[in-house]
Symmetry: C2
Subunit: 223 residues, 2 copies
């Protein structure tokens, strides 16, 4: 349903080029839960941003149901993201002047069939922090608000960049269960970047990047 075809991303830094992605082919199948692994700097966030229409490749195409989103203008790209993609950012990107609940509500007001903000925050055990501003939340609490915000939208496509990085093991498992549940009950096509091994076994498929290339791919038969 969403696929990167021969995607390359090169940053020109004076006389040195950084090849963040080198001809990557990754397709997300309808309703699957894909996990993306790889060392720090291997290109995972770059790939996820390009798939989600937050960035454009230097070469290659990104097909969403027959349309090449890499060729869209800014306005259409924004509409594609707003209508179809829920994103959990590696740096959360919460709005500092809005409370946890308002941050979630911002996204649900424009969605077609959103969860109630309170409900989404309850999924990540933050009902008692609804009126805190981001600066009044711990690192892990901010990360969970970012997750609630993406999930509340009930999007077709959910892209999560390291959703458990700041969480203790127990809270991290809770969050991965929420993501897994959304994928199973709503059929949300989901891609998760994580360093957390247990998530890899929850996935339908695991793709490993190394130095800007797909290094290996693995199907979980037992699932």
């Amino acid at each position: 349903v969403l696929a990167a075809h021969d995607v390359t991303k090169t940053y020109r830094m004076g006389d040195v080029d950084v090849h963040a992605l080198r001809g990557v082919n990754v397709g997300l199948r309808q309703g699957e839960l894909l996990v993306l692994l790889g060392p720090s700097g291997s290109g995972k966030s770059t790939l996820l941003n390009i798939l989600g229409g937050l960035d454009v490749p230097t070469e290659g195409r990104v097909m969403y149901k027959e349309r090449d989103i890499a060729a869209l203008g800014d306005r259409e790209l924004t509409r594609f993201r707003r209508d179809h993609v829920g994103f959990v950012f590696q740096f959360y990107n919460l709005i500092p002047s809005l409370t946890a609940r308002e941050n979630v509500a911002l996204v649900t007001e424009i969605a077609e069939e959103p969860l109630d903000p309170r409900e989404a925050l309850e999924l990540v055990s933050l009902a008692d922090r609804m009126d805190h501003f981001p600066s009044q939340l711990s690192g892990g609490e901010q990360q969970r608000v970012a997750i609630a915000r993406a999930v509340a939208k009930q999007p077709d496509i959910l892209l999560c960049d390291e959703p458990t990085g700041a969480l203790d093991v127990k809270t991290g498992i809770r969050v991965l269960e929420v993501i897994d549940e959304v994928n199973r009950t709503l059929g949300t096509t989901t891609a998760v970047i994580t360093h957390h091994a247990p998530m890899a076994s929850m996935a339908d498929r695991v793709i490993s990047l190394s130095d800007g290339r797909v290094y290996q791919e693995h199907e979980n038969e037992t699932k």
Copy 2:
């Protein structure tokens, strides 16, 4: 050498009080490597910030070699931090307008016996990213610059708030080895907040927080 005595931290939020820390007693012994564990929101960052003089307790004292730093004025607190403490922040706090090397150099220029910035970045395998700005670095690379910056200072006290949160297992282990080595060879008194279990076994002592209190303490005899 650095100890929190009966430290309490309460945030007043309208008619609800948030008790981030409730009478915590934690002392760092000279040259030890202490690990601080606990669920998201249990008060770890709050405690570390208070120990490092970045925040003040609502009640209680923080003794650094006989002086109560919780009672110091802003200027003296800043000098205490600058002269004695290296801090790796949960949100890295890199300066966006400076490159990786410049971010590290900023701290080494005012330190007594600093590492060369290039050397510090080599410790975390980032010599080839020295001239990148934070926005041109991956999440894990930014985290490693923050670590290089704290370690380069060669401080008496090193406080690390989740230094491996954004790192894959292999890179995370490399970073923990760097921290462990600094502690062993320089005798740096070190406290690390982490969710990464292997670090707990590298520590001399492990303290677990729960809901703002010390929940349990464990000495690693085998070390």
